[in-house]
Symmetry: C2
Subunit: 357 residues, 2 copies
Amino acid sequence: MKVTAVIMAGGKGERFWPQSRANRPKQFLSLTNDGETMIQKTVARLSGVVDIQDVFVVTNETYIGLVKEQLPDIPDENVIAEPKARNTAPCIALAAQIIRKKYGDAVMLVLPSDHLIKFTEMFVDTLRSAIDVAEKNRNLVTIGITPSYPETGYGYIQFSGADKSMPGVYRVERFVEKPNIERAKEYVNAGTFLWNSGMFVWKASSIIYNIEQFLPDVAEGTAKIGAAYGTDAFEDTLRAVFPGLTAESIDFGVMEKAKDIYTIPGNFGWDDVGSWLAVERINHTNEYGNVVKGDVISINTKNSTIIGGKKLIATVGLEDIVVVDTNDAILICSKDSTQDIKKIIENLKICNRSELI
Amino acid sequence: MKVTAVIMAGGKGERFWPQSRANRPKQFLSLTNDGETMIQKTVARLSGVVDIQDVFVVTNETYIGLVKEQLPDIPDENVIAEPKARNTAPCIALAAQIIRKKYGDAVMLVLPSDHLIKFTEMFVDTLRSAIDVAEKNRNLVTIGITPSYPETGYGYIQFSGADKSMPGVYRVERFVEKPNIERAKEYVNAGTFLWNSGMFVWKASSIIYNIEQFLPDVAEGTAKIGAAYGTDAFEDTLRAVFPGLTAESIDFGVMEKAKDIYTIPGNFGWDDVGSWLAVERINHTNEYGNVVKGDVISINTKNSTIIGGKKLIATVGLEDIVVVDTNDAILICSKDSTQDIKKIIENLKICNRSELI
């Protein structure tokens, strides 16, 4: 069966302000040292699994230009602009309808555009196993990540015993929301929980079937838009129908309720790059535990991330601090406050300083 | 007797990097919000005590242009360029010789160019008392500051009982170097110690007499230069003789050895503005204990000094941090590390980056 990919690229990436901006969020930035952006890496690592003609990107209208600029080989008709962000369920439902319209049916790899994966070959092997499972029946497959520590910022997937006919594949018992630290430790110790990576594999027909069960208005609306795909009416239908769909995540709206969900534990160096803290995980740290880019002089500075811009940054006596300099804004943030960066953006919104957002 | 002032303006102000630079040190900057530079304030507060024609500035050759630009009313012949920094004793000795050549004899107010004083009238009253004492005999007067806390960054002056004939004037017992914190607490509790402000009042003839006693080579060399003052030979003599003089502070070289030293305790809101920490003492702090200048958004930031430049500075979750942005360099320094800012400058020197020093 044909294998397609749906790259979800509508995120605003506010947690990476000031590098990430409303008009150029995280997925369109390079947070590593190789110049390749997150979304370019996401597509590149599908090489050999999905033909570039079969890669779809669902994004916000604002980012269409960036997608076409950074991924020029993806056909224009595969780049879908959400007129309004409606969370992941309508996004995935729409992509499924379009894929069904275009191909009859196909396997869909549903992938966030802004995660990093260190070991591409292992990732590809996992995808291939997931595709095998997804091709059967109405199986829904979620890629789980073997937890390496009790992270409280991720949801978890509880799984039960392996299916004898499918080695390495486990039946999902339940999805659990982000836990507190005690609960997270229990999960990691239990050995039957995985991190929920937000990566899914299924046939278009399987996920449409489930959305019809659990989110009928989303199924109905996206079916209408899908029917118009490839005709002159598509744009108008999309704009008329999509904004009215229930905003719901695929996890809460479908996965927590559906049957026949399988997970394949991945161990391929995944990172969701969820905050500036990730930069020290995905980059080389020096002997003082610092990640340093650009023109930086550090005296007695430890475990800090310092990303310079055009001018010298001098740090003295700092520990656990993130510094990011850009052309028009400098962020200085303690590591345990990275979740509060969004308050800066709220403040800028209140002051109508959209040029800085 | 004529009263003159000698403003010592040769300091490099490295502790105020990156605002202070080798070609524009602290005394030529405004660290308050009123646009007036430190040296302009120093001269302005002498109004009514010293005629501007009788104000002398001793500075480094490099800063002659800045002095003339910022203090255009001071006669050119009163601006003296040290060919090489030799600490305060040769500086003061030279000024004394020049004043003796020009006026026969005169009272000299010897003042650093880069201190701040909050209550000018009280300061002027103190100067007037000091002038009265200095005019008598060969008295040397040092202005002491009533200590408000056990500062370890200043030297102290121990004084004994008041002289009945001169109310408010005390005989100096000894000068003591910067103490450790226990000793500093003892000094403050004793009630017989003052901070050494580095401000002195004496007749030119009195200090020359003492320099002849304790630093004969400095006396001899500066006498030669002073003899050439006002002639075509002055510049050449200055350049030939001054660099060879013993580099010594007036405190160690003369004050710790001389007799007839008096002190007048001042309580006029003095601050030596010795590091970035001073900025929060001399400026308004907001309800979170922050001093903020320029375009700054602070979230959960306390007791910090944030001096913006042209771009937005956003701080999140910081405490006791100093941030200073300039056109070509940003400093981020913990408050207890401000003494290490000089290491940044050392580093820049090693790397031949003089444009940033």
